[in-house]
Amino acid sequence: MLNSPAIEVDGLTVIRGGNTVLPDLTVSVPRGSVTGLVGPSGCGKSTLIRAIAGIQIIKSGTVTVLDGPAGTPVAREQVGYVTQSSSVYPDLTVMQNLRYFAALTGSDDTAIHDAVANVGLADKLDALVADLSGGQRTRVSLAAALLSDPELYLLDEPTVGLDPVLRRDLWQLFQRLASEGKTLLVSSHVMDEAGRCDRVLLMREGRIIADATPDELRETTGEQDLERAFLVLAEGKAAS
């Protein structure tokens, strides 16, 4: 049980607005690690994450999350999903937002204080979310997912627009969660973030073009820079 992958996607096909966004995609994500889902904007990252969260209508294929089908009540208890846009209530304070999400997942005030400390917002508890910057809102959204201490985190571009110091801090937080045995799937369109992951899924036009550790990527492509490695893989794939 424990050695089975946290996420298993098999033959997943998703069609949105007449376009095949994910054509027959198969991939798995190991437990207790930070897996980066990296690729250009529009390549299907969010759609894949939505399918794993169980809120995407799929054409065919199966999505297994923590040994059960995605989106069931059991799966929802164990999954923390952070959408790309900061999905918290702008007309509530940080504390009111977190109290609500805590009540939904059965967590307490201690969890709230730990979560805001982890995202560096402890001094903003009484601020209205509408008055916060975009980066701060993203962190409130992330804090809401931390509350229930889920087994699996699905984080859709959580570090967009953050300053480098905060970005580093959040990646350290992700690594710490993984070292506690949690599984994180973190999407990003920034190649240099791939280097911070235990494992990288490079995605392009709805397909996974590489599934490897950052070192393996550098080795197979002969490029030290991951941006260039992506180019080599993307063009190699296009030629074949």
Binding site: G54, I55, D91, G106
Partner: protein, 242 residues
Amino acid sequence: MTRTLATTRRVLQQLSHDPRSIAMIVVLPSLLLWLFKYVFDGSPVVFNRVGPQMLGIFPFIVMFLVTSVTMVRERTSGTLERLLTTPLRRGELILGYGLAFGAAALAQSVVTSTVAIWLLDMDVNTPWAIVLFAVTDAVLGTALGLLMSAFAVTEFQAVQFMPLVVIPQLLLCGLLAPRDSMPDVLRMLSDVLPLSYAADAFTELGSTSDFTSTLTRDLVILIGCCVLALTGASLTLRRRTP
């Protein structure tokens, strides 16, 4: 139940950060009623006949609008999507909304009825029954707003459902013309529209001081419609979207 009440508290907290909306919800029906009374200053009989029905119709319209726009906003902001990935059940979300706006409706009805009866001298015998029906109508507006919001993609569309859902019911409910004088097809249509029973109840409340069996029937039908609409709303709320 915890998650339902947490949702109710959250919706009320959102409202509390918006004092202008609170003022509109609480005061607007009274102002409209006051306007109505003095427009018909020359013929007070009109105010006494139609006034009580207004007490039931205003909360219905206001709550329909407020709820459908709020729900569409929840959908477009991405918070609904997020809620659907938590252990929150769809019925709990819908019921939480219903309770929150029901509480707002209670405040509205108490204020409006007080103004109508004591300041505008509306002639009714059972103020508590007026409030009871006004709240039921408001909850009905909320329930239909939640249901219709499933079919609106933007706030713009949600607002336009108001004339679609509300105006035909206003025309057919017996407020403007007695339902018995309508062509058969329209009368049958009015028989299945919930606002007809609200209007019927307020007509009854204007003329009697007892809680008659007609009132009991109207109340049961209205509550039944609320339950139906709320059930419909939680069923049309899709967890998986394209």
